[in-house]
Protein backbone atom coordinates (compact mmCIF):
# COMPACT_ATOMS: atom_id res chain seq x y z
CA UNK A 1 0.00 0.00 0.00
CA UNK A 2 2.77 2.28 0.96
CA UNK A 3 4.46 1.58 -2.36
CA UNK A 4 1.25 2.18 -4.25
CA UNK A 5 0.68 5.41 -2.36
CA UNK A 6 4.21 6.53 -3.03
CA UNK A 7 3.84 5.57 -6.67
CA UNK A 8 0.55 7.44 -6.86
CA UNK A 9 2.23 10.45 -5.28
CA UNK A 10 5.04 10.27 -7.77
CA UNK A 11 2.58 9.96 -10.66
CA UNK A 12 0.51 12.77 -9.25
CA UNK A 13 3.56 14.94 -8.77
CA UNK A 14 4.88 14.23 -12.20
CA UNK A 15 1.42 14.69 -13.62
CA UNK A 16 1.11 18.03 -11.91
CA UNK A 17 4.58 18.94 -13.02
CA UNK A 18 3.79 17.84 -16.55
CA UNK A 19 0.59 19.83 -16.46
CA UNK A 20 2.47 22.84 -15.18
CA UNK A 21 5.08 22.48 -17.88
CA UNK A 22 2.34 21.98 -20.44
CA UNK A 23 0.47 25.02 -19.22
CA UNK A 24 3.63 27.06 -19.14
CA UNK A 25 4.56 26.00 -22.66
CA UNK A 26 1.06 26.72 -23.85
CA UNK A 27 1.14 30.12 -22.22
CA UNK A 28 4.59 30.74 -23.67
CA UNK A 29 3.41 29.62 -27.10
CA UNK A 30 0.39 31.86 -26.75
CA UNK A 31 2.73 34.65 -25.73
CA UNK A 32 4.91 34.10 -28.76
CA UNK A 33 1.87 33.92 -30.99
CA UNK A 34 0.57 37.17 -29.55
CA UNK A 35 3.99 38.77 -29.78
CA UNK A 36 4.16 37.76 -33.42
CA UNK A 37 1.05 39.79 -34.10
CA UNK A 38 2.53 42.89 -32.58
CA UNK A 39 4.20 45.57 -34.68
CA UNK A 40 7.92 46.18 -34.82
CA UNK A 41 8.43 49.68 -33.43
CA UNK A 42 12.00 48.99 -32.42
CA UNK A 43 14.74 51.56 -32.69
CA UNK A 44 14.52 55.22 -31.73
CA UNK A 45 11.92 57.73 -32.86
CA UNK A 46 11.56 61.48 -32.89
CA UNK A 47 8.53 63.72 -33.22
CA UNK A 48 7.98 64.98 -36.75
CA UNK A 49 4.79 66.99 -36.49
CA UNK A 50 2.20 68.04 -33.96
CA UNK A 51 1.77 70.06 -30.82
CA UNK A 52 -1.12 70.60 -28.47
CA UNK A 53 -3.53 72.17 -30.95
CA UNK A 54 -6.69 70.62 -32.37
CA UNK A 55 -5.74 68.22 -35.10
CA UNK A 56 -7.31 65.33 -36.98
CA UNK A 57 -5.08 62.52 -38.29
CA UNK A 58 -5.13 64.18 -41.72
CA UNK A 59 -4.22 67.57 -40.24
CA UNK A 60 -1.31 65.98 -38.39
CA UNK A 61 0.34 65.52 -41.78
CA UNK A 62 -0.01 69.20 -42.65
CA UNK A 63 1.78 72.34 -41.54
CA UNK A 64 0.81 73.64 -38.08
CA UNK A 65 -2.14 76.04 -37.93
CA UNK A 66 -1.29 79.76 -37.70
CA UNK A 67 -0.84 81.33 -34.29
CA UNK A 68 -4.28 82.94 -34.34
CA UNK A 69 -6.11 79.79 -35.47
CA UNK A 70 -9.07 78.68 -33.30
CA UNK A 71 -7.46 75.24 -33.39
CA UNK A 72 -4.76 76.61 -31.10
CA UNK A 73 -7.30 77.34 -28.37
CA UNK A 74 -8.83 74.39 -26.51
CA UNK A 75 -12.65 74.42 -26.13
CA UNK A 76 -12.34 75.57 -22.55
CA UNK A 77 -14.99 75.94 -19.91
CA UNK A 78 -15.31 79.50 -18.56
CA UNK A 79 -13.16 78.59 -15.56
CA UNK A 80 -10.30 77.25 -17.68
CA UNK A 81 -10.72 79.94 -20.33
CA UNK A 82 -9.97 82.45 -17.60
CA UNK A 83 -7.00 80.39 -16.44
CA UNK A 84 -5.72 80.20 -20.01
CA UNK A 85 -5.93 83.99 -20.40
CA UNK A 86 -4.03 84.32 -17.15
CA UNK A 87 -1.35 81.96 -18.49
CA UNK A 88 -1.06 83.96 -21.72
CA UNK A 89 -0.48 87.10 -19.68
CA UNK A 90 2.20 85.32 -17.66
CA UNK A 91 3.87 84.13 -20.88
CA UNK A 92 3.92 87.69 -22.19
CA UNK A 93 5.59 88.78 -18.96
CA UNK A 94 8.01 85.84 -18.94
CA UNK A 95 6.47 84.57 -15.73
CA UNK A 96 4.76 81.35 -16.87
CA UNK A 97 6.52 78.62 -14.91
CA UNK A 98 7.29 75.34 -16.63
CA UNK A 99 7.29 72.53 -14.03
CA UNK A 100 10.00 70.56 -15.85
CA UNK A 101 12.46 73.46 -15.76
CA UNK A 102 13.33 72.64 -12.17
CA UNK A 103 14.67 69.26 -13.32
CA UNK A 104 12.74 67.45 -10.64
CA UNK A 105 9.54 66.04 -12.08
CA UNK A 106 8.54 64.29 -15.33
CA UNK A 107 6.67 66.10 -18.08
CA UNK A 108 3.87 63.60 -17.58
CA UNK A 109 1.14 62.35 -19.85
CA UNK A 110 0.14 63.48 -22.44
CA UNK A 111 2.74 66.27 -22.60
CA UNK A 112 5.52 63.75 -23.09
CA UNK A 113 4.26 63.28 -26.64
CA UNK A 114 5.55 66.75 -27.51
CA UNK A 115 9.12 66.64 -26.21
CA UNK A 116 12.38 67.04 -28.10
CA UNK A 117 14.96 64.23 -28.27
CA UNK A 118 14.18 60.53 -28.83
CA UNK A 119 11.42 58.05 -28.01
CA UNK A 120 11.42 54.28 -27.71
CA UNK A 121 8.76 51.58 -27.55
CA UNK A 122 9.16 48.32 -25.67
CA UNK A 123 6.30 46.07 -26.68
CA UNK A 124 5.25 42.91 -24.89
CA UNK A 125 1.88 41.20 -25.25
CA UNK A 126 0.96 42.13 -21.70
CA UNK A 127 2.44 45.60 -21.55
CA UNK A 128 3.99 48.36 -23.63
CA UNK A 129 6.48 50.86 -22.28
CA UNK A 130 6.69 54.25 -23.98
CA UNK A 131 9.98 55.90 -23.09
CA UNK A 132 11.02 59.47 -23.74
CA UNK A 133 14.70 60.30 -23.58
CA UNK A 134 13.92 63.84 -22.49
CA UNK A 135 12.94 63.90 -18.87
CA UNK A 136 13.07 60.93 -18.91
CA UNK A 137 9.45 59.81 -18.86
CA UNK A 138 8.11 56.26 -18.77
CA UNK A 139 4.49 55.45 -19.57
CA UNK A 140 3.38 51.91 -18.74
CA UNK A 141 0.46 50.76 -20.84
CA UNK A 142 -1.11 47.52 -19.61
CA UNK A 143 -2.61 45.31 -22.32
CA UNK A 144 -3.10 42.17 -20.23
CA UNK A 145 -6.84 42.63 -19.91
CA UNK A 146 -6.84 44.51 -16.64
CA UNK A 147 -9.11 47.47 -16.05
CA UNK A 148 -8.44 50.73 -14.24
CA UNK A 149 -8.27 50.43 -10.45
CA UNK A 150 -11.21 51.48 -8.35
CA UNK A 151 -11.23 55.21 -7.60
CA UNK A 152 -10.39 54.56 -3.96
CA UNK A 153 -7.29 52.65 -5.07
CA UNK A 154 -5.98 55.43 -7.30
CA UNK A 155 -4.14 58.70 -6.85
CA UNK A 156 -2.98 61.22 -9.40
CA UNK A 157 0.44 60.58 -10.93
CA UNK A 158 2.40 62.22 -13.73
CA UNK A 159 1.86 59.41 -16.22
CA UNK A 160 -1.44 58.12 -14.86
CA UNK A 161 -2.98 54.69 -15.13
CA UNK A 162 -3.04 53.34 -18.68
CA UNK A 163 -4.91 50.25 -19.87
CA UNK A 164 -5.55 49.18 -23.42
CA UNK A 165 -5.46 46.58 -26.14
CA UNK A 166 -4.29 45.98 -29.69
CA UNK A 167 -6.54 46.34 -32.74
CA UNK A 168 -4.82 44.89 -35.82
CA UNK A 169 -1.47 46.42 -34.99
CA UNK A 170 -2.89 49.61 -33.52
CA UNK A 171 -2.32 50.27 -29.82
CA UNK A 172 -5.41 51.73 -28.17
CA UNK A 173 -5.35 52.80 -24.55
CA UNK A 174 -7.19 54.90 -22.00
CA UNK A 175 -5.47 57.03 -19.38
CA UNK A 176 -6.80 58.39 -16.09
CA UNK A 177 -5.35 59.34 -12.72
CA UNK A 178 -3.30 62.22 -14.13
CA UNK A 179 -1.98 65.26 -12.37
CA UNK A 180 -3.42 68.51 -13.66
CA UNK A 181 -2.30 72.13 -13.51
CA UNK A 182 -0.18 73.51 -11.98
CA UNK A 183 1.76 70.26 -11.43
CA UNK A 184 1.76 69.63 -15.17
CA UNK A 185 1.21 71.73 -18.26
CA UNK A 186 0.80 70.64 -21.86
CA UNK A 187 3.28 73.17 -23.16
CA UNK A 188 4.68 76.66 -22.80
CA UNK A 189 1.78 77.92 -24.91
CA UNK A 190 -0.28 78.11 -21.71
CA UNK A 191 -2.48 75.07 -22.38
CA UNK A 192 -3.30 73.20 -19.18
CA UNK A 193 -5.88 70.63 -18.06
CA UNK A 194 -7.32 69.56 -14.71
CA UNK A 195 -6.70 66.37 -12.77
CA UNK A 196 -10.00 65.07 -14.16
CA UNK A 197 -8.41 64.71 -17.59
CA UNK A 198 -8.91 61.39 -19.37
CA UNK A 199 -7.28 60.55 -22.67
CA UNK A 200 -7.92 57.93 -25.33
CA UNK A 201 -4.85 57.31 -27.43
CA UNK A 202 -4.34 55.42 -30.67
CA UNK A 203 -0.87 54.65 -32.03
CA UNK A 204 -0.46 53.08 -35.45
CA UNK A 205 2.18 52.76 -38.09
CA UNK A 206 1.32 54.68 -41.26
CA UNK A 207 4.59 54.00 -43.11
CA UNK A 208 7.61 51.78 -42.47
CA UNK A 209 9.32 54.50 -40.44
CA UNK A 210 6.38 56.70 -39.46
CA UNK A 211 3.92 56.52 -36.56
CA UNK A 212 0.69 58.43 -36.14
CA UNK A 213 -0.50 59.13 -32.60
CA UNK A 214 -3.97 60.55 -32.02
CA UNK A 215 -5.13 61.54 -28.57
CA UNK A 216 -8.62 62.63 -27.58
CA UNK A 217 -8.61 64.67 -24.39
CA UNK A 218 -11.75 64.70 -22.29
CA UNK A 219 -11.87 66.81 -19.15
CA UNK A 220 -15.27 67.69 -17.65
CA UNK A 221 -13.72 70.46 -15.58
CA UNK A 222 -11.57 72.07 -18.29
CA UNK A 223 -13.22 71.25 -21.64
CA UNK A 224 -16.72 71.66 -23.06
CA UNK A 225 -16.16 68.84 -25.56
CA UNK A 226 -13.51 66.21 -26.34
CA UNK A 227 -10.43 67.79 -27.91
CA UNK A 228 -8.46 65.76 -30.50
CA UNK A 229 -4.73 66.26 -31.04
CA UNK A 230 -2.39 64.32 -33.30
CA UNK A 231 1.33 63.82 -33.75
CA UNK A 232 3.59 61.95 -36.13
CA UNK A 233 6.95 60.41 -35.33
CA UNK A 234 9.80 59.33 -37.59
CA UNK A 235 12.17 56.47 -36.91
CA UNK A 236 15.78 57.58 -36.46
CA UNK A 237 18.50 55.90 -38.54
CA UNK A 238 19.26 52.26 -37.64
CA UNK A 239 21.76 51.95 -34.83
CA UNK A 240 20.82 55.27 -33.23
CA UNK A 241 21.68 55.40 -29.55
CA UNK A 242 19.38 56.76 -26.88
CA UNK A 243 21.11 58.37 -23.91
CA UNK A 244 20.26 59.32 -20.37
CA UNK A 245 19.15 62.85 -19.64
CA UNK A 246 20.37 64.04 -16.28
CA UNK A 247 18.52 67.34 -16.22
CA UNK A 248 20.02 68.47 -12.92
CA UNK A 249 23.58 67.87 -14.13
CA UNK A 250 24.20 71.46 -15.17
CA UNK A 251 20.94 73.39 -15.06
CA UNK A 252 21.98 76.99 -15.70
CA UNK A 253 18.37 78.17 -15.95
CA UNK A 254 16.81 78.17 -12.48
CA UNK A 255 13.31 79.54 -11.94
CA UNK A 256 12.54 82.32 -9.49
CA UNK A 257 9.65 82.07 -7.06
CA UNK A 258 7.62 84.35 -9.32
CA UNK A 259 8.18 82.14 -12.38
CA UNK A 260 11.02 83.96 -14.14
CA UNK A 261 13.70 81.88 -15.89
CA UNK A 262 17.22 83.05 -15.07
CA UNK A 263 20.52 82.41 -16.80
CA UNK A 264 23.68 81.56 -14.89
CA UNK A 265 27.30 81.92 -15.93
CA UNK A 266 29.67 78.94 -15.60
CA UNK A 267 30.39 79.82 -11.97
CA UNK A 268 26.71 79.86 -11.05
CA UNK A 269 26.26 83.63 -10.90
CA UNK A 270 23.07 85.14 -12.33
CA UNK A 271 23.92 87.11 -15.45
CA UNK A 272 20.46 88.52 -16.20
CA UNK A 273 20.03 92.21 -15.63
CA UNK A 274 17.39 92.08 -12.93
CA UNK A 275 15.12 95.08 -12.61
Amino acid sequence: MRTLRAQAFRVGTWGAAASLVGWTLAAYAQSLSSAGDLPDWSGAWTRSTGQFYESTPEQALEAPPPADSPRRRPPYTPKFAALYEQNLALIAADRFPDPISICGTPAGWPRMLALPDAYEFVIRPEQTWLLSENGPNVVRIYTDGRTHPKPEDMWATYTGNNVGHWEKGELVFHSIGLKGAPATILGRNGVVMSDRLETTTRIRQIAPDRLLVTVVLADPEALTRPWPVAFTYARLPPGSTVYDYACAENNRNPITSDGRTLTLDPSGEVIDKLE
Binding site: D98, I100, P116, D117, N134, Y243, C247, D265
Partner: protein, 145 residues
Amino acid sequence: MSSRASKTHCMSVGFATALIVGAASHAAVAHHSTAMFEPEKRVTLSGTITDFQWTNPHAWIQVTVAGADGKPTAWSFECGSPNTLSRQGWKPSTLKPGDAVMIVANPMKDGTSAGLMYTVTLADGRVLGPGAQVAAQPPASPPAR
Protein backbone atom coordinates in the same frame (compact mmCIF):
# COMPACT_ATOMS: atom_id res chain seq x y z
CA MET B 1 24.18 77.07 -45.04
CA SER B 2 21.26 79.44 -45.48
CA SER B 3 21.67 82.58 -47.53
CA ARG B 4 21.44 84.61 -44.36
CA ALA B 5 24.09 82.56 -42.70
CA SER B 6 26.21 82.85 -45.83
CA LYS B 7 26.09 86.59 -45.52
CA THR B 8 27.14 86.50 -41.93
CA HIS B 9 29.90 84.03 -42.76
CA CYS B 10 31.52 86.60 -45.00
CA MET B 11 31.63 89.22 -42.29
CA SER B 12 34.91 90.34 -40.88
CA VAL B 13 36.23 88.71 -37.77
CA GLY B 14 35.75 90.75 -34.63
CA PHE B 15 32.91 92.08 -32.55
CA ALA B 16 29.36 91.27 -33.54
CA THR B 17 27.89 93.55 -36.11
CA ALA B 18 25.03 91.59 -37.62
CA LEU B 19 21.46 91.82 -36.44
CA ILE B 20 19.21 89.73 -38.59
CA VAL B 21 15.55 90.51 -38.21
CA GLY B 22 12.89 87.97 -38.98
CA ALA B 23 14.87 84.92 -37.97
CA ALA B 24 12.82 81.88 -37.06
CA SER B 25 12.91 80.81 -33.45
CA HIS B 26 14.35 77.44 -32.51
CA ALA B 27 13.13 77.52 -28.94
CA ALA B 28 11.67 74.02 -29.05
CA VAL B 29 14.95 72.46 -27.93
CA ALA B 30 15.03 74.18 -24.55
CA HIS B 31 13.83 72.59 -21.32
CA HIS B 32 12.78 76.02 -20.09
CA SER B 33 11.17 79.20 -21.31
CA THR B 34 13.27 81.00 -23.90
CA ALA B 35 11.59 84.32 -23.26
CA MET B 36 14.95 85.82 -22.29
CA PHE B 37 16.19 85.51 -25.89
CA GLU B 38 15.31 87.73 -28.84
CA PRO B 39 13.40 85.34 -31.14
CA GLU B 40 13.49 87.69 -34.13
CA LYS B 41 17.12 88.80 -33.99
CA ARG B 42 20.47 87.14 -34.44
CA VAL B 43 23.95 88.38 -33.69
CA THR B 44 27.18 87.12 -35.19
CA LEU B 45 30.26 86.94 -32.98
CA SER B 46 33.78 85.73 -33.58
CA GLY B 47 35.98 84.68 -30.74
CA THR B 48 37.95 82.00 -28.97
CA ILE B 49 36.52 78.99 -27.12
CA THR B 50 37.28 78.95 -23.41
CA ASP B 51 35.07 75.98 -22.47
CA PHE B 52 32.55 73.59 -24.01
CA GLN B 53 30.21 72.15 -21.38
CA TRP B 54 28.87 68.87 -22.82
CA THR B 55 26.17 68.56 -20.17
CA ASN B 56 22.44 68.12 -19.69
CA PRO B 57 19.95 69.65 -19.94
CA HIS B 58 21.93 71.94 -22.25
CA ALA B 59 25.43 72.09 -23.61
CA TRP B 60 27.04 75.52 -23.23
CA ILE B 61 29.71 77.21 -25.30
CA GLN B 62 31.89 79.72 -23.49
CA VAL B 63 33.63 82.17 -25.80
CA THR B 64 35.89 85.15 -25.27
CA VAL B 65 35.05 87.89 -27.74
CA ALA B 66 37.00 91.07 -28.30
CA GLY B 67 34.71 94.02 -27.72
CA ALA B 68 34.62 97.19 -29.78
CA ASP B 69 37.04 98.73 -27.30
CA GLY B 70 39.36 95.76 -27.63
CA LYS B 71 38.58 94.40 -24.16
CA PRO B 72 37.80 90.67 -23.98
CA THR B 73 34.25 89.80 -23.02
CA ALA B 74 33.02 86.40 -21.82
CA TRP B 75 29.95 85.12 -23.68
CA SER B 76 27.75 82.12 -22.87
CA PHE B 77 25.84 80.36 -25.63
CA GLU B 78 23.14 77.87 -24.80
CA CYS B 79 22.77 74.79 -27.04
CA GLY B 80 20.49 71.76 -27.17
CA SER B 81 21.10 68.67 -25.07
CA PRO B 82 24.15 66.51 -25.84
CA ASN B 83 21.67 63.87 -27.01
CA THR B 84 20.20 66.18 -29.64
CA LEU B 85 23.56 67.63 -30.60
CA SER B 86 25.09 64.19 -31.12
CA ARG B 87 22.38 63.40 -33.68
CA GLN B 88 23.31 66.61 -35.51
CA GLY B 89 26.95 65.65 -35.87
CA TRP B 90 28.39 67.14 -32.69
CA LYS B 91 30.88 65.39 -30.40
CA PRO B 92 32.22 66.38 -26.99
CA SER B 93 35.49 67.12 -28.80
CA THR B 94 33.91 69.33 -31.47
CA LEU B 95 34.97 72.46 -29.62
CA LYS B 96 38.16 72.79 -27.60
CA PRO B 97 39.61 75.70 -25.62
CA GLY B 98 41.61 77.91 -27.95
CA ASP B 99 39.54 77.11 -31.07
CA ALA B 100 38.55 80.09 -33.19
CA VAL B 101 34.83 80.10 -34.02
CA MET B 102 32.11 82.28 -35.43
CA ILE B 103 28.75 81.95 -33.70
CA VAL B 104 25.31 83.10 -34.81
CA ALA B 105 22.86 83.31 -31.91
CA ASN B 106 19.62 84.80 -30.66
CA PRO B 107 20.88 87.35 -28.11
CA MET B 108 19.49 88.02 -24.64
CA LYS B 109 16.84 90.73 -24.61
CA ASP B 110 18.48 92.57 -21.73
CA GLY B 111 21.83 92.91 -23.49
CA THR B 112 23.61 90.38 -21.32
CA SER B 113 26.57 88.67 -23.00
CA ALA B 114 24.72 85.43 -23.71
CA GLY B 115 22.52 83.90 -26.38
CA LEU B 116 20.82 80.87 -27.86
CA MET B 117 23.19 79.23 -30.35
CA TYR B 118 21.94 79.01 -33.95
CA THR B 119 25.09 78.10 -35.87
CA VAL B 120 28.75 77.62 -35.08
CA THR B 121 31.30 77.94 -37.87
CA LEU B 122 34.49 76.07 -37.09
CA ALA B 123 37.96 77.04 -38.23
CA ASP B 124 37.84 74.35 -40.93
CA GLY B 125 34.67 75.87 -42.38
CA ARG B 126 32.18 73.31 -41.07
CA VAL B 127 28.90 74.79 -39.87
CA LEU B 128 26.95 73.08 -37.08
CA GLY B 129 23.81 73.91 -35.15
CA PRO B 130 20.05 74.15 -35.67
CA GLY B 131 20.57 76.71 -38.41
CA ALA B 132 22.70 74.28 -40.36
CA GLN B 133 20.02 71.62 -39.88
CA VAL B 134 17.33 73.93 -41.22
CA ALA B 135 19.45 74.75 -44.25
CA ALA B 136 20.09 71.06 -44.92
CA GLN B 137 16.43 70.03 -44.78
CA PRO B 138 14.58 69.35 -48.03
CA PRO B 139 11.42 71.38 -48.75
CA ALA B 140 8.62 70.47 -46.35
CA SER B 141 6.26 67.79 -47.56
CA PRO B 142 3.69 65.70 -45.72
CA PRO B 143 4.92 62.30 -44.62
CA ALA B 144 3.74 59.28 -46.58
CA ARG B 145 0.66 57.59 -45.21
